[in-house]
């Protein structure tokens, strides 16, 4: 095992960088499956489409046009809406809104969930008990309905959406990380670090965190998916930001013309479903089908 592939980082060996540990972790036990690769492909397609939107459509998603409710054709591949706006442009630029809300609220919830899960799993006892009761309470509360009420009261807008979704979504991550930390807690290298006088902050940051990193990645992918779903739910109920139309908002507008213009709901929905499915496939692919457990 001198210079072969590091299967499990030895406690006292020279510490490989985080990237190396992550890679070896993935390669050793959680190889990306075929479905995981499909998931990555979905996310890359949607991501590239939204990121490089101007390359795919010359239209402005908010610019009104004379051709209203046009079926898909050469000029407008995804058709136009009731105000003559190009649906392809609205789907591509709308993805920027949906994906940003998803990413930022996932970062918030993963950081929060990681902190709570690590503290609960590491210290155990009464603190763990208290934190887990709070986590359970958060899981029972109907998250989406809480979000609806809070956003209606404090006002819609992307920042509020991100904050509300992020602050309501951490329990899933907290539970996964807590379970993992409870296992690591009793490993020798933790005891060694503690005996050599490392503070608990240092132990958590330098010795525990690298070992839960792959779990965090899975959790993050699933959190982005669920945050995008939550955002579309809020927007569909009219709580989105009309100045920054997301996929959910497009689907809400499409609902009004469901019987006249199928393209208004079909295309934004495909983009939304592809993204969420892609992220869930990625999470599942890395976790080896443990997404069910990680999801909750």
């Amino acid at each position: 095992m001198k210079d072969g592939i590091i299967v499990k980082p030895a406690p006292f060996a020279g510490r490989p960088g985080w990237g190396m540990r992550l890679f070896s972790g993935l390669a050793a036990s959680r190889r990306l499956s075929a479905s995981g690769v499909l998931g990555v492909a979905f996310v890359v397609i949607v991501g590239a489409g939204t990121l490089f939107a101007p390359l795919f459509t010359p239209f402005d998603p908010l610019a009104l046009g004379a051709d209203t409710l046009q079926a898909p054709g050469w000029a407008h591949p995804f058709g136009t809406d009731d105000l003559g706006r190009d649906v392809l442009a609205r789907v591509l630029y709308g993805g920027r809104v949906s994906l940003s809300v998803g990413l930022f609220s996932a970062v918030l919830s993963v950081v929060l969930g990681m902190t709570i899960g690590m503290v609960a799993g590491f210290f155990g006892g009464a603190l763990d008990e208290a934190l887990m009761r709070i986590t359970e309470a958060f899981q029972i509360l109907p998250k989406l309905l809480v979000a609806v009420v809070v956003v209606s009261l404090i006002g819609s807008g992307l920042t509020n959406e991100i904050l509300v979704i992020g602050l309501l979504s951490w329990p899933a991550t907290a539970r996964v990380i807590r379970g993992r930390v409870q296992v690591i807690r009793h490993e020798e290298f933790i005891a060694a670090a503690e005996m050599s006088g490392a503070s608990w902050v240092r132990v958590l940051a330098r010795h525990v965190t690298p070992n839960v990193l792959s779990f965090l990645l899975v959790s993050a992918a699933l959190q982005v998916a669920s945050a995008i779903m939550a955002e579309s739910f809020l927007s569909f109920l009219g709580l989105g930001d009309p100045a920054h139309p997301s996929w959910g908002l497009l689907l809400q507008q499409g609902q009004l013309f469901l019987q006249q213009a199928w393209w208004l709901t079909t295309f934004p929905g495909i983009a939304l479903a592809m993204t969420i499915l892609g992220l869930n496939l990625m999470g599942d692919g890395v976790a080896g089908g443990r997404a069910g457990a990680a999801r909750r």
Partner: protein, 323 residues
């Protein structure tokens, strides 16, 4: 047996109290936190000075915050959610009027999802690793990745608009007033698409978790013993293995009920179903905050009750959970 159940119910009730408190506190906190005067928020966009004064004295917004909270809490837990700004009726009676339609649709969807979900989950656990199992796993991943309201829109496009087989929305035919058996048939006909839409999510969750729990259960010693004693396959599967796996299934149903109710809100909007979901939508659209917060607290209380019920059911099913 009775004392055990009584003790159990009491213990669950003790868990429910902090949750109810949390729901009311969240609502109160955000009404206070919302920009502007809480009385103005409760009174709507263009209140008369008299109405504002009435709300202020009703909720005591001139008194200290803790006194306001106690008043709010007292009213909320007794079902006094205030007066709808739009219809001017008590919020609680508006909710009760809409609630049966939601119970009918959500209840039917939960029964459908549980029956099919359990069958699918057990079938794929029985043949774990087979082609059928892989196919079911893939389908269930797609099932919970696709937003429910979009599934509903697609079903409308296909079955109502293109094929014209089923109604686009509503709960009963608008131009006919059927009675008795014909009326039941008519409502059932209108329920097909919304129930199918709402079932998808719960069905896939139940199938996934039941499968995992069944694979665990089938690996236990008691299954081996049952086989050795010559029990039939069906008896091993349902009597020995599923009885144990069902604890997981019931827990999933309880935990996902909040998501199902939220799903019902959007599915009702897609299908113009006259239940609580439409109420939420109208309340958001009209900025009718007493109605919105009332509908929220009411739904949350139901979710908490269902969770407690599923906990109790699990404990009764599996004596090992009882301490």
């Amino acid at each position: 047996m009775l004392p055990v159940i009584v003790k159990l119910l009491l213990r669950r009730a003790l868990l429910a109290v902090p949750l109810v408190l949390a729901v009311v506190t969240i609502t109160f906190f955000f009404i206070r936190l919302a920009p502007g005067d809480p009385a103005a928020i409760m009174a709507g966009d263009a209140p008369t000075p008299e109405f504002l004064a009435q709300i202020r004295s009703e909720y005591g917004f001139d008194r200290p915050v803790w006194a306001q909270f106690l008043t709010f809490l007292g009213k909320a837990v007794t079902g006094d959610f205030g007066t709808s700004l739009y219809t001017k009726q008590p919020v609680f009676s508006v909710i009760l009027e809409r609630f049966p339609a939601t119970v009918l649709m959500t209840g039917t969807a939960m029964i459908v999802a549980s029956l099919i979900g359990i069958l699918v989950g057990v079938a794929s656990a029985k043949r774990a690793g087979s082609r059928l199992d892989t196919l079911i796993s893939a389908a269930s991943l797609v099932g919970y990745s696709v937003p429910g309201f979009w599934v509903g829109q697609l079903l409308i496009l296909l079955f109502a608009v293109s094929l014209n087989w089923l109604p686009v929305g509503g709960m009963e035919a608008a131009r006919a007033s059927y009675r008795g058996w014909r009326h039941i048939q008519d409502v059932a006909w209108h329920m097909v698409l919304p129930v199918a839409t709402l079932s998808v999510f719960l069905l896939t969750m139940i199938a996934r978790f039941t499968r995992a729990a069944m694979i665990d259960a089938l690996d236990q010693d008691y299954v081996l013993v049952a086989e050795a004693k010559g029990a039939s396959r069906a008896r091993i599967l349902w009597h020995h293995a599923f009885r144990n796996a069902s604890v997981t299934t019931i827990t999933v149903i309880g935990l996902e009920f909040g998501a199902v109710l939220a799903g019902a809100v959007v599915v009702e909007i897609v299908f113009s179903w006259p239940g609580l979901g439409r109420l939420f939508y109208d309340a958001i659209y009209r900025r009718d905050f007493p109605l919105l917060t009332g509908a929220f607290m009411f739904s949350s209380f139901i979710v908490i009750a269902v969770n407690m019920a599923s906990d109790v059911a699990c404990t009764l099913l599996d004596p090992r959970i009882r301490r």
